[in-house]
């Protein structure tokens, strides 16, 4: 196990067994997060990003959510094999998660200070006075005056609520923060403030960040590494430079071509035709084959594996038959 990596996910497969069929949400996904670094996870609705994040936190919805295989190693220990009691020790203290909608993440009937204290009290043995003091410090850390600890969530704006959520998540100085589209629901100027704050806090606390988003701009400005997901798999991964400057997978190219760029003088976008395949009925070959402008015969029947291409840190991998010959594959 590489001690450089704080979380290692190996071949994780999660399916949802529903009445209409089995939704293959995540299929053999492997990912490693290094200490004190930031990873972007990019994909559209249904790609499996939230399933992955919730899977790491063991928050996969039951009873229909089933982890079919794989390991999630946190500092060598497999989270999937832990009992609920053991997991409790990890959640919040070592791995924290924040969600997209700040409105529903906070308990509306408890003051924000108390919610931070609850998070602290679950893991540390502090007296009442110490808890409030600590909660005040944490609020200041996210830019909210400590006096507001006694206020309730509805008295804060969307951006401030999200700061409170981040405060709760970082209260115990976890090693890893999973952020599922944390700024998608916020205005762009508030998004800038919040992302800036997360970056500063990360520097101070040394937290690793897994940032799930569909916004390539956010990834470019906030992440060192990025993985692109499609139909439950990782189709391309590498450093941010690798992906942005040397896109390999046709889906990645398609994604970049569909976004209106501030600096370009483009008059017409080039969208990717069609839709993501039905996750209860994934095609036999490559999942992107139907929509791919560069598909060849074997794409329809064989499923491509992730191949190492090289890249900045020798970590640029892509799942596409176009590149198999490069690796002698």
């Amino acid at each position: 196990m590489n001690s450089d990596h704080v979380i290692e996910i190996k071949d994780l497969t999660i399916h949802y067994e529903m009445r209409e069929g089995t939704v293959k949400a995540l299929n053999n996904v492997s990912l490693s997060l290094k200490r004190n670094s930031s990873y972007g996870l990019v994909g559209e609705t249904g790609a499996g990003k939230t399933t992955l994040a919730k899977g790491i936190m063991r928050l996969t919805p039951t009873p229909y959510g089933k982890v079919k295989s794989g390991e999630i190693l946190y500092e060598g220990k497999d989270l999937l094999k832990m009992s609920p009691k053991e997991l409790q020790k990890y959640r919040g203290k070592h791995i924290s998660m924040i969600f997209q909608d700040p409105m529903t993440s906070l308990n509306p009937v408890v003051s924000v200070g108390k919610q931070i204290e609850e998070s602290l009290a679950a893991h540390e043995n502090l007296s009442g006075a110490e808890l409030s003091k600590r909660a005040g410090e944490i609020l200041e850390m996210v830019g909210i005056p400590a006096e507001r600890a006694s206020e309730f969530p509805h008295q804060f704006s969307g951006g401030m609520k999200q700061r409170v959520v981040i405060a709760i998540a970082l209260a115990l100085d976890p090693d890893v923060l999973l952020a599922d589209e944390p700024t998608t629901a916020l205005d762009v100027t508030i998004q800038a403030q919040v992302l800036d704050m997360i970056a500063n806090l990360r520097t101070k606390l040394g937290t690793s960040l897994l940032l799930i988003t569909h916004d390539l701009g956010v990834v470019a400005q906030n992440c060192e590494y990025v993985s692109i997901m499609y139909a439950g798999e990782i189709v391309e991964t590498g450093t941010v430079h690798d992906i942005f400057k040397n896109k390999l997978h046709p889906y990645t190219e398609g994604l970049f071509n569909s976004i209106p760029n501030i600096s370009d003088q483009v008059h017409r976008l080039t969208p990717i035709p069609g839709l993501m395949p039905d996750p209860t009925n994934l095609p036999k070959g490559c999942s992107f084959c139907e929509r791919c402008p560069k598909a060849v015969e074997q794409c329809k029947t064989k499923h491509p594996r992730l191949i190492l291409i090289g890249g900045e840190e020798n970590s640029h991998m892509v799942r596409c038959f176009l590149y198999e010959s490069i690796n002698g594959g």
Binding site: S157, M160, T189, A192, G217, A220, P260, I262
Partner: protein
């Protein structure tokens, strides 16, 4: 002074709401002109009043005061009969593809509804209605086999296409597009934006495109206005606004957009604080509390929207 060459002219439009806490200035003294076959981008963040503006123009919210001139007539003076007829010329596309469709109506019923309500087709004229519905579905790119599908069976992109088909069914001249692609995935956004552009060319439509996403609006608009707390702070062409933004809020908005290039580290003009309250606003610039270059004058005197260079207006004491 009404501009006779503009298709739609808004003069001194105000929409205030009465709340227990005071008067909410949602839309305050807006003046805009939109020309035929053009797109006006209306940009702003939550609370700026852009959605209320769109609805006030269509009289879905009745304006508190002001004038809305459409084809040379002030539609705010229309009675209910003329207003109903007007509806076939001025339409709206909504943001939320999940909430803007009646869950109990099929695709075909949703598109047919405006036709029946406006009396273009009789309820029993099934052949005529079906033909028109099929035309609309083809125009917006919906497969004909979806004609009896329900919204909950379809994804966001398809639902939004139904919304567009519904808006177009009456062959309107002017359409308010209220964040029509914000709720869609990136690749679907591109599909729908292309569709809207094509439809504009083919059908000679005029759009008022409301969004918070500056990159989308740059790509589509002939003119852009930036709103903040109910007022216009800057007005101009896309190249004017993007290349030489004058208002500090516009500059902050532009600099906040994350650029998808890791080598370009953005110099942020981060504005501090949060939106101030639109309730019982007094005098002075409404952006002053958060503005990096605000002075004493700013909190006392209302800035006036004035022309800086031809076609480029800004409301700021420091421009």
């Amino acid at each position: 002074m009404e501009n006779t060459t503009a298709l739609l002219s808004v003069r001194n439009l105000k929409k205030y709401f009465h709340t227990p806490a005071g008067i909410l200035h949602a839309v305050d003294n807006i003046n805009i002109d939109i020309f035929e076959n053009e797109t006006l981008g209306v940009v702003g963040e939550s609370g700026c009043g852009k959605s209320t503006l769109g609805r006030a123009i269509l009289r879905l919210h009745e304006p508190t005061s002001g004038e809305v001139w459409f084809r040379g007539e002030n539609i705010l003076t229309y009675g209910s009969a003329r207003l109903k007829k007007l509806r076939s010329e001025m339409q709206i596309i909504f943001q939320d593809p999940y909430a803007s469709l009646n869950p109990r109506m099929t695709v075909s019923q949703a598109i047919a509804a405006p036709l029946i309500i406006q009396g273009l087709y009789d309820k029993r004229d099934h052949a005529g209605i079906n033909k028109r519905v099929a035309e609309m579905m083809e125009t917006v790119g919906l497969a004909s086999r979806l004609v009896n599908a329900y919204p909950h069976e379809l994804d966001g992109g398809r639902r939004q296409r139904i919304g567009i088909a519904r808006a177009l069914a009456l062959n309107p001249k002017f359409i308010v597009c209220d964040e029509p692609v914000s709720a869609l995935d990136v690749s679907i956004q591109a599909q729908v934006l292309n569709l809207m552009q094509d439809l504009q060319e083919q059908m000679g439509l005029t759009y008022m495109f409301i969004t918070h996403n500056l990159s989308v609006v740059k790509h589509l608009s002939n003119h852009i206005v930036v709103m903040y707390l109910g007022q216009l702070v800057e007005k101009g062409t896309p190249s004017q606004l993007f290349n030489s933004p004058l208002h500090p809020y516009t500059r902050a908005l532009l600099s906040a957009i994350p650029i998808p290039d890791p080598d370009i580290k953005m110099k942020r003009e981060i504005i501090k604080g949060e939106l101030t309250s639109p309730i019982n606003v007094g005098h002075g610039c409404r952006f002053a509390a958060r503005c990096p270059i605000a002075s004493e004058r700013c909190s006392k005197e209302d800035p006036i929207l004035s022309e800086h260079e031809p076609g480029h207006f800004v409301a700021c004491h420091h421009s």
